[in-house]
Amino acid sequence: MLKRLIERFRCLNPLLFACMAGLIVVGVAFVYSACSVREDPELRMLYMRHAEVGLAGLAGYLLLAWIDYRAVLRWSWLIYLVCLLLLVLVPFIGESTMGARRWLFGIQPSEPAKLAIIMILAWLFGRREAQRGAPGFFLTLALVGVPGVLILLQPDLGTAMVLVPTVFAMLFAANVAPRLLWTCVAVGVAAGVAIMSVIYIAEKADLPQERRDALIEATHLKPHQVKRLQVFLFPDKDLHGSGYNRRQSEIAVGSGGAWGKGYLKGEQYMLGYLPPSVSSNDFIFAVLAEESGFAGSLTVLLLFLGLLWSGLWVAFRCQNDTGRLFCVGVLSLTFSHMFINIAMTIGMMPITGLPLPFISYGRTFMLTMMAALGLVQSVSIHGRESETRF
C-alpha cells in the first residue's frame, strides 16, 4: 500500500506542485499585508483563513492526485448537475453582497461550476465515439450556456467571461467543428467591438441625453458594467467615482517601481486609497506590485508561467484525450483568470472582479483551483500509466 502510494507520487509533476505552492505562499503573505490594516479583528485574520484553505485544499489536492482522474470524471455529469442545482438556488436563497447575489451556504457555486463545465466537456469529448460535428458544438453551447446564463444573472460578468476562452480552448483542442468555432470567435470579437463602439459613440458624440441613454440601453448591459467599460475607454473621466479603483490600483502598481516599497510598506492600501474591501481579493496584485515592485510582479508571472507550462507538459505526456482536454481546460481557466486580473489591475482591461488564482483571498475559488490542479496531477500520474497499460 505504502509502496504504491510512493510510486504514484513519484509521478507527480514537481514543478507544477512547486509553482502552485509558491503562489499560495505569496498569496498568504500578501493577504496578510492587505488585511493587516483592517480594524475588525476577524478581517485582520483573513490571511489565516487563506492559509487554512490552502492546507485543506492541499489535502484534497493530494487525494485527487492519488485517485485516477477518470474515476472522477466519470461522475462529472453528477457534479455538473449538483452545481447547476446550486446555481438555480442562488437567486432564491442566496446571500446578497454589493448588489450581486453570488453566495450560497458560504460558498460561491459559480466557482465549482466552472470546474464542473471543464470536467463534463473533457468527459464528453474525451470519448472516442464523441460527436465532433455541429451537434457536438451545440451540445456544448447548451451545457455551458445554462450555467453561464445563471452566472451572468447573478450578475457576475467576470466569471462568465473567463468561461468563454476556456471553453473555446477546449473545443479547439478537441477539434470540434473548427469552422463553426472560428465563426463564433469572429462574431464574438465583432460583438465586443460593437458594444465598445456604441459606448464610445454614446460618450463622445454630441447627442442629446435621451438618445445617448437609448444607445447604451441597446447594449443590454447592466449600468455598472457599462460604467466599467466607460472607465476602460475613458480612464480619466471619473477618477473619484467609478474610475477610482482602477486609478488607485494603477498608482499602487506604478509607485512600486522596480524593487517595491518593502513588505508591509504599501501606502496605497495602508492609507485606504485602494479600498480595503478589494485589496485582499480582486486587487491583491496591486498590493503585491506596490510592495515588491517589478521584481515581485515578474516573480509571480514566472511562477504562473512555470505552472502553465508544466501543466501543458502533463497534457502533452498524457495519452488519453479526456485527460488532455481536462488539462487544457484547467490551464486555460487559470491563464484567463491571471491575465484578466493583472491586466485589469494596470488598467488594460475593464474591471470585472475576477480573483487572481492562489493569491487572491477567496475560499471557494481557492478550493476549486486546487481541486482542479489536483486532478491535473492525477492526469500526470495516471495518464502516463495508461500509456504503459494499453
Binding site: A169, A173, G254, S255, G257, L271, Y273, F294, L331
Partner: protein, 595 residues
C-alpha cells in the same frame, strides 16, 4: 497544444512588458501622483523676533502657550462625517465638565475643522492655565485623542509699558512660501499695531514646512519634518524703559501724552500715551468684550495721543515766533513792548494771562514771562510768512517720519488752506493767534518734542526713530540759525525754568530749559485747557528733549512741569537737597498759576 503554450507565453510576456512600462518607465509619474494625493504640506511659521529696549530689556517675546487639542483621527467614526463630528463634539462637552471650564468651541467650528483641516490639531482651549493643565494631567487617560499642544504666543513682560509703541499682534495666515503649495498652515502672529506692525517683515521669520501623509479619508497618518522654519530677527529700540516708566507713571490718571528724544540723533527715549492698555490681554485672542470696552472708553486707551493726538501747542510754540522775529530783518531783540494785560487789534482783544500786564518787556523777558501781548504784537509786526517759514522748517504740519505705522501731520495753516476749508480769508487775528500757539495751529506731542530738540541742539532736525539704527543719524533739515539768535531764545527758555513759569521742571544739580503752555480749547462747547511743557537738559550740551501734554490740566506750569521734572530725574538723577531752608525760601507766588 503548442499553440496554447505559445498563447500562454505570449500573454505572460505581454503582461511583463505592460508591468515594466507601468512600474519602471512610468514609475516617477505614478510616484508623484501618489505623493500628490496623500501628502499635505503644513506651513509652520518661524518664531517671531523679540523687541528689546536700548539696555537689552525685553519688551516683547514669545512664551509657550498650552492648548488642549483634539486629534480627530483618534476619535474617528465610521460612516458619515457627521458621526465623527458628533463624537468630537460630545467629547469636548465631556472634557469641559471634567476640567470645569466652559467650552469655547461651537459645534460649527468642530464641523468646519473636520471638513477642512482634518489632519491638523483642533484647539479646543487655547492658552489654558496651570491649574487646568494639572487637572487635565489627572484625567488624561480617559480622553484618547486629546493632547496638549504647545504653540508660541506673544508676551509683553513689561505689561502695559510702551503699549502704544509696541502695538500688538493678531493671528493670520502666514505669507505663502514662493513656489510651494501648502494645504494647511499654523496661524502666524501678525503685527496689527505699533512697532509690531511697522517691523512685521523683520520680526516675521521664514515659514518652514511639515509634511503630513493622509489616508483616503483625509486623516493624518504620519508626519515628518520638511524644511525648518527660520526665526524672525529681533528689533532693538532706542527706548529706555526707565524713562518710559517715569513718563508713564507721571501721566497715570491723566489723559495725555509725551515724547522724550535725544536731541543729538533723534533717538526716541520714551513715547507714551495715557490712558493705556495691556497688550497681553489680547493674547491668545482679543476677547470680544474687551475690544468693545476699549473702544467705548471715553479716554480712548487704544489711541496713541503722542503721534495721533491733535492739540494746539499754546505757549510752547512761542520760541518759533521768537526765532522767526530774530531772523526777520529790522527786529531789535532789546526793543521793549508795553504789556497792559491785553493786546488789541481793531475790535479784537487778546488777553494776556497776567491781567495786570507785564509792563515793558523785551524778547528774553517776554519768553520767560510768556507774555501773550508781546508775542501777538511780535507776530503782527513780522507777519505770518516769517512765522510760517520757521514753523514749517521745524516740522510742524508734517509727519515727523517716526517708525510707527500711523502718525498725523497736525496742521500748520496757510491762507489758501483757510480759504479752501473755512471759506474765509486770512486775517491779522489769525497771525496773532498762531504767534501764541493757538487758533488753527494743531500739533502732536511728538512734533513738539522734535521742536524742543531742535532748539536744544541749536537748529538741526533729526528724524525721530524708535528702532536702533546703524551709522550717522538722519538729518531731515538743517535750520541754519545764527548761533546768537538761537542762543537768545535758548537763554529765554533757560529763564523759564530758572525763574518763570517752568520752575517746577527744575532738577537740583541740573541746568534745565523749558517752556510751559496752556492752550484753551473748545471741546463740544466746554472750555478745556490743554496743558504743555517742552524742556531740554542739560542746558549746555542737551542730551534729552521732551514734550508732555495733558488734556484738561490746570496749567502747564502746575500740572505738567512736575511730570517733566520726574522724567528728567529718571535720566539724570537728582542731587540731594542741600539745605532744607533753601527750598522753603522758594517763593510760591501767584505768577506760577499761569503762563
Amino acid at each position: 497544444m503548442a499553440l496554447l503554450a505559445f498563447v500562454f507565453a505570449a500573454g505572460i510576456v505581454f503582461l511583463a512588458f505592460a508591468l515594466h512600462r507601468v512600474q519602471v518607465v512610468q514609475y516617477s509619474d505614478f510616484s508623484r501622483d501618489q505623493v500628490r494625493q496623500s501628502v499635505r504640506r503644513v506651513q509652520v511659521p518661524g518664531p517671531r523676533g523679540r523687541i528689546f529696549d536700548r539696555n537689552g530689556v525685553v519688551l516683547a517675546e514669545n512664551r509657550a502657550s498650552y492648548c488642549i487639542a483634539y486629534y480627530v483621527e483618534e476619535l474617528r467614526k465610521r460612516g458619515r462625517w457627521q458621526n465623527t463630528i458628533d463624537a468630537v463634539d460630545a467629547d469636548i462637552d465631556r472634557l469641559a465638565a471634567v476640567l470645569g471650564i466652559p467650552r469655547v468651541l461651537s459645534k460649527e467650528a468642530v464641523a468646519n475643522h473636520v471638513m477642512q483641516s482634518l489632519p491638523m490639531p483642533l484647539l479646543a482651549w487655547r492658552d489654558v492655565d496651570q491649574e487646568t493643565l494639572a487637572r487635565w494631567a489627572e484625567t488624561e487617560e480617559s480622553f484618547p485623542g486629546v493632547d496638549v499642544f504647545v504653540q508660541p504666543e506673544r508676551s509683553y513682560p513689561q505689561g502695559s509699558l510702551a503699549a502704544h509703541v509696541l502695538g500688538y499682534v493678531g493671528r493670520g495666515r502666514p505669507q505663502p512660501l514662493p513656489g510651494q503649495k501648502s494645504h494647511f498652515f499654523l496661524p502666524e502672529m501678525i503685527g496689527k499695531e505699533g512697532l509690531e506692525r511697522q517691523y512685521n517683515p523683520t520680526l516675521t521669520g521664514v515659514s518652514g514646512g511639515q509634511l503630513i501623509r493622509v489616508d483616503a479619508r483625509g486623516y493624518k497618518h504620519a508626519v515628518w519634518d520638511g524644511e525648518p522654519a527660520v526665526s524672525g530677527r529681533d528689533v532693538h529700540l532706542t527706548l529706555d524703559v526707565n524713562v518710559q516708566r517715569a513718563l508713564e507713571k507721571a501721566l497715570r490718571g491723566w489723559r495725555g501724552a509725551g515724547a522724550v528724544i535725544d536731541p543729538r540723533n533723534g533717538d526716541v527715549l520714551a513715547l507714551a500715551s495715557s490712558p493705556t492698555f495691556d497688550p497681553n490681554d489680547f493674547v491668545p485672542v482679543m476677547p470680544a468684550g474687551l475690544w468693545k470696552k476699549l473702544n467705548a472708553d471715553e479716554g480712548l486707551p487704544l489711541y496713541n495721543r503722542a503721534v495721533m493726538g491733535r492739540y494746539a501747542p499754546g505757549s510752547t510754540f512761542k520760541p518759533v515766533t521768537a526765532i522767526a522775529a530774530l531772523l526777520h530783518a529790522g527786529f531789535n531783540p532789546d526793543e521793549t513792548y508795553l504789556c497792559e494785560g491785553a493786546f488789541s487789534l481793531g475790535t479784537m482783544r487778546l488777553r494776556c494771562w497776567n491781567t495786570y500786564g507785564h509792563g515793558a518787556v523785551a524778547l528774553r523777558k517776554a519768553i520767560e514771562q510768556s507774555c501773550n501781548s508781546f508775542f501777538c504784537h511780535l507776530g503782527y509786526t513780522i507777519g505770518y510768512e516769517a512765522i510760517y517759514g520757521e514753523a514749517q522748517k521745524v516740522g510742524l504740519g508734517q509727519r515727523t517720519g517716526i517708525d510707527l505705522p500711523a502718525e498725523t501731520a497736525g496742521l500748520l495753516p496757510t491762507a489758501e488752506w483757510k480759504e479752501r476749508n473755512l471759506k474765509d480769508k486770512w486775517r491779522p487775528g489769525d497771525t496773532c493767534h498762531i504767534s501764541i500757539g493757538q487758533g488753527l495751529l494743531v500739533t502732536t506731542p511728538l512734533q513738539m518734542a522734535v521742536l524742543a530738540s531742535v532748539f536744544a541742539n541749536g537748529g538741526i532736525r533729526y528724524r525721530p526713530h524708535l528702532a536702533r539704527r546703524e551709522g550717522a543719524p538722519e538729518i531731515v533739515f538743517d535750520m541754519g540759525w545764527p548761533p546768537d539768535a538761537v542762543g537768545l531764545v535758548r537763554n529765554g527758555l533757560h529763564d523759564v525754568a530758572a525763574l518763570g513759569t517752568g520752575k517746577r521742571v527744575q532738577v537740583r544739580g541740573l541746568q534745565v530749559a523749558a517752556k510751559t503752555g496752556t492752550a484753551e480749547v473748545d471741546v463740544g462747547g466746554v472750555r478745556r485747557k490743554n496743558t504743555w511743557v517742552t524742556a531740554f537738559a542739560p542746558f549746555d550740551r542737551p542730551t534729552v528733549a521732551m514734550a508732555i501734554m495733558v488734556e484738561n490740566g490746570v496749567s502747564g506750569g502746575l500740572t505738567v512741569a512736575p511730570m517733566a521734572h520726574d522724567v528728567l530725574v529718571s535720566v539724570f538723577g537728582e542731587a540731594p537737597e542741600e539745605t532744607p531752608s533753601e527750598t522753603a525760601a522758594l517763593p510760591a507766588g501767584g505768577e506760577e498759576r499761569g503762563d
